[in-house]
Structure formats: structure tokens, C-alpha cells
Amino acid sequence: MKLASTPTSPGARILAVGEHRPTRIVTNAEICEQIDSTDEWIRERSGIITRRIAAPDESVVDMATSAASKALAASGVPATDIDLVLLATCTHPYQTPGGSSEVQDRLGAANAGAMDINAACAGFAYALSLANDAIRAGSARNVVVIGSEKMSDFIDPRDRGMAFLFGDGAGAAVVSASPTTGIGPVVWGSDGSHIMTITQEPTYTQVQHALATGESLPPVALKMAGQTVFRWAVTKMLPVARRALELAGVAPSELGAFIPHQANMRIVESLVKSLKLPDTVAIARDMETQGNTSSASIPLALSTLLARGEVESGQPALLIGFGAGLTYAAQVIEVP
């Protein structure tokens, strides 16, 4: 017998985005109360001036739901028409269940499937590509894609190299079937030989062992070999970005915006220079006031550019996410 299939779609596009930025603004001076550093040093190394930190009772799921609700409202798509909720996160505090099911329930997306995706800071770009594929293949018509992170739960405030880098927040996009291509081909990859360059320690099993034996452990926190990651980002992400442009058939000069993961201003400036982007291309520099929000950084930065009118609807924008794994993913999108 032959199995039937659902209708495919020629393309998918982002209809709308939504954001959630925690209200508390933390300055470099406040960070420096716990580390031996200065505002000037932090600005020079990272470009970060302030970051948003979530309240103790403000969770990854809360922030994801808030951002997704705003994106849904802006898109005009009823919650019950959502077929899939994809939550990119690496800071949801539960191993099981993932955060996406609770987001699905709170959104009233009664007809949607849900799953979490952990590709660290590349998570949103991965999830966006999977949403595009699900729609084109006919597995979904409308997908909510979210990046939500509470980095502050996983950062040691006394780690001089890490404490100032991160922030909390969420960004979301509603992706729907479209007669044209609004999300270009993805370029993704991984270099697992570098798993230890960004990693959380101690592990869950080490914590369990310590609880059972009374052994003392340092607090669970992210560790990063900063210079190694910086070098990887400024050298290896350049061909990835170029390839994503090539596959989408977009010249650098045709871009409306460049929205790389907001890890560090110096990485962004290096990529802008190497890609030879003209002044007409809006460059996302959201880390200045947001810090590195991992999988939330790209949708938050897109939201900022749209709110400031720095990029117009219909223009192509290059997204590139990269981070722990090491993983990366890049694609050109049509700005909603």
C-alpha cells in the first residue's frame, strides 16, 4: 500500500517576533562588586555596558511564554493554529520535562507538539531551520520558535572571566507557511573535538554523587576557554557566514542587517570587517545592553533592530549562531 502525506509548502517565513527582557538592569559596576575588574576593562573586552538579569522567580518558561505571546499577538495567528512549539534553551533547570510543553500549555496552543532544542548559543538558528523544514515538508503550518535563557542561574558571579558576559531574556518568532522562501538554506555544523571549551561543571551525576557521599563540590557553573572560543569564532564563522549568503543568493551589500549571536562585540566587529559589509547594513549590537543571552540573543537583537527602524520588513538579514559544542548554524531570513 501507499501511505498518504500532508500537503507540503513551497516556503516558510517569519511573520512576527516578540521579546521578553527582564526589568532588572545590572551595570558593570555592580558586577565588579564581586570580581576584580573595571567597567572600562569589561567594555573593551566585550562591548557590554549593562545586562538584564531575571528575578529569582522568573523562569526560562516564564520568559519564553512572555516573548511567544507577544510574537503570536503580533502575527495574528490564533494560538490554536500553532502546530509546533520549539524552545531553544540550555538553561532550563529540569532534565525532564523540557520547558516547551509548559510554554505550549500556557500559550493555549492546544493543537501543537512541543520539544526543547539544546544547541547552546546556536539554538535559535537551529530551531528556526527545523521550523522551516517542518513547514515545507507539511508537518506543520505554523510554528512558534523561541530562544529563552536564564544564564544567571549557571554563572559564578565570582568568576572573573565569565561573570560580566551573560544576561537573561527570551525572543520568539512565529514562522508560517508562505508561497515564497522567507528562510534561506541553513549552514550548520559542529566540532565536538572542542566540547570542553564551553562546559557546565560539575555535572548532574557529580552533584548526585556529592549529595550521597557528603563530598563538597563547587557550585554548578559554566566554564569557558575564552581565547580558544574567540579564535574559533573569528576564523571558522567567516566561511559559514559567506556560505549562508551564497546559498541564499544574497550579496553582502544586499543585506538589510547582520544579526550574529551576541557573544562579544569584538567577534561581531571582526566578522563585519572580514565580510566587508557596507555601512548600509544594520549591525546588531544588542549585547551592549543585554549581555550574551545565548539562544535568545538573535531574536532579541532582531527585535531591537525592528523597534529602532534600523531594518525594514522584507529586507534580507544574515543570522549566525555559534557556541558550546562547539555548534553553529547560519541562514539568511526575510525580515518580518
Binding site: 581565547q227 580558544t228 579564535r231 573569528v234 562579544n264
Partner: protein, 84 residues
């Protein structure tokens, strides 16, 4: 043909100028990257990446931390170039 120390120094000075905006004439063999030239750790990575490209050598992360002075880097590139 292998480059002379002077040629490597001149090329390196150009890179340091490009990356960190330090006058090329300040980039001398006895100068410390961090203490004298104010090249921070991330700029140092950018200098190394550019030097790898320019001189066709490989400078692994583990070796970068040993390059304290401009002279260290010039000697490293000279030797790496010979064995490359």
C-alpha cells in the same frame, strides 16, 4: 625563500597596527605585547590569526601564551616558517 627577522618584524608591525591601532614604529623586538604595546588577550588572538595567514605558519593556542614579546613572536614565526 625564508624571510629575514627584519621582514617578519615589519610584517608583524603592520598587523599589530591594523588590529590594535599601535604605530608600526613602536613594534620593536624587545617590546612586550601586553605591558608595552597594550595588546589585550583578544587582540593578541587577532594578531596571531592574521600572522598565521600572512606568514603561512601555524601557531597553536598553547604556544600563544609563550609569545610575551614581539621578539618571541618573530623568532617563533621564523622557526615555524623553516619547518613548514
Amino acid at each position: 625563500m625564508a624571510l629575514s627577522q627584519q621582514e617578519i618584524l615589519a610584517g608583524l608591525a603592520e598587523i599589530v597596527n591594523e588590529v590594535a591601532g599601535i604605530p608600526a614604529s613602536d613594534v620593536q623586538m624587545d617590546k612586550s605585547f601586553t605591558d608595552d604595546l597594550d595588546v589585550d588577550s583578544l587582540s593578541m588572538v587577532e594578531v596571531v590569526v592574521a600572522a598565521e595567514e600572512k606568514f603561512g605558519v601555524r601557531i597553536p593556542d598553547d604556544d600563544v601564551k609563550n609569545l610575551k614579546t614581539v621578539g618571541d613572536a618573530v623568532t617563533y614565526i621564523e622557526k615555524a616558517g623553516v619547518t613548514a
